[in-house]
Subunit: 190 residues, 2 copies
DNA sequence: GCATTTGCCTAGGACCACTAGGCAAAGTTA
DNA sequence: TAACTTTGCCTAGTGGTCCTAGGCAAATGC
């Protein structure tokens, strides 16, 4: 019988696309196999198990979002950079909810696995942006955490319908960026 | 054969406790039934299905967290109230990760179900706190959203190990509260 | 053209959510 | 107390999920 031409990358990509459609946690190996016209057991020649697949999707999504963010802030600084970063991030989360959810999973790896040049670069983008605001350690790390928390929390609440007040969420979003900008400019140094 | 004395409330409570132990999304009806020394089919006399149970746990957790928050901010205002609110909320999320996760699920109810006095009161607590900062609509709603997003994002990132920088997360947390306070005091009015 | 590797298969186990129908314990009424 | 009703937990069974073991044929290397 003809082969389907599966590879870890093709499976990961299909899983990411399916996650964007139906939700990251609803992606099953069975459904994925059906999409390829293949039995679910066949996938195990290419991926270790479901957790492995999820980790791969998370890595893929992480690369994609980092590429976009790096491109968005390139050559910008201050509020310009912050706005570009924030809006690019939010667009990604809205256009690719499954991929975005994947980036939030707890990756079960030993600490050394986090020390790749790729992850290093991904972490560097927001740090560089905030350094341009004149922040230095430990304020820098605190501010990065505040930014990440605020963005992530906002996307999550938007995605799960947590904002049911009639006010437009995009208007609130723009005000949030304004607020964060003025906060970063007037950061209460320790 | 003797009866186990199950009720919807006892099942919900057990589910919430189990969620705190093993994680909200890992709670299964089978495991819950085993805990009661009962077959899983028996639970269906008391709850409709898994989604129903999750909704009940979410409601329970929501009541609990609101009680604590309301008690924490009672009689306080300004930074005092903000700090009490933030720390109480964070403590709850850390002590009861399963219950906290439950409060974040997308509740599938028609809009009218959201209009109970209980939910109204729960929403009112942060609004009242921010009104004391001199904010009024629409800034008020924007600020509430910013607070919720920041808190939720922070808890989530802390819980999933998103902060792997060596700096102590509690130190960053205290700085975050400082930063939010100064932001609220100097809110860029529209 | 033959041997090796590799990709997808069938078969099957364990766990899960959920339904249908049965029986006995608890509650109700006289 | 005795009969009737309600209700709580049961067994049995379906279909979905993840995952393993072992087989066979297609692709690859010599």
């Amino acid at each position: 019988m003809a082969r389907a031409g599966l590879t870890p990358d093709r499976i990961t990509l299909a899983a990411a696309d399916l996650a964007d459609e139906i939700g990251f946690d609803k992606v099953t190996l069975s459904a994925l196999a059906r999409g390829f016209g293949v039995k679910d057991a066949s996938l195990y020649s290419h991926i270790k198990n479901l957790a492995d697949l999820r980790t791969r999707v998370a890595a893929l999504a992480g690369r994609e979002v980092h590429e976009r963010l790096a491109a968005a802030v390139a050559g910008r600084a201050g509020k310009d950079a912050l706005t570009a970063f924030a809006n690019t991030y939010r667009d990604f989360a809205q256009e690719h909810p499954g991929r975005y959810a994947a980036t939030q999973i707890q990756i079960q790896l030993d600490a050394s696995a986090f020390d790749t040049p790729e992850i290093r670069r991904a972490i560097e983008t927001p740090y560089a942006m905030l350094r341009a605001y004149g922040l230095s350690e430990p304020d820098l790390t605190d501010a990065v955490r505040l930014l990440r928390a605020t963005f992530h929390g906002y996307f999550q609440l938007e995605a799960t319908g947590g904002f049911n007040h009639p006010r437009d969420t995009t208007a609130s979003w723009n005000r949030t960026i304004d607020a964060l900008h003025s906060l970063l400019e007037n950061w209460p140094h320790s």
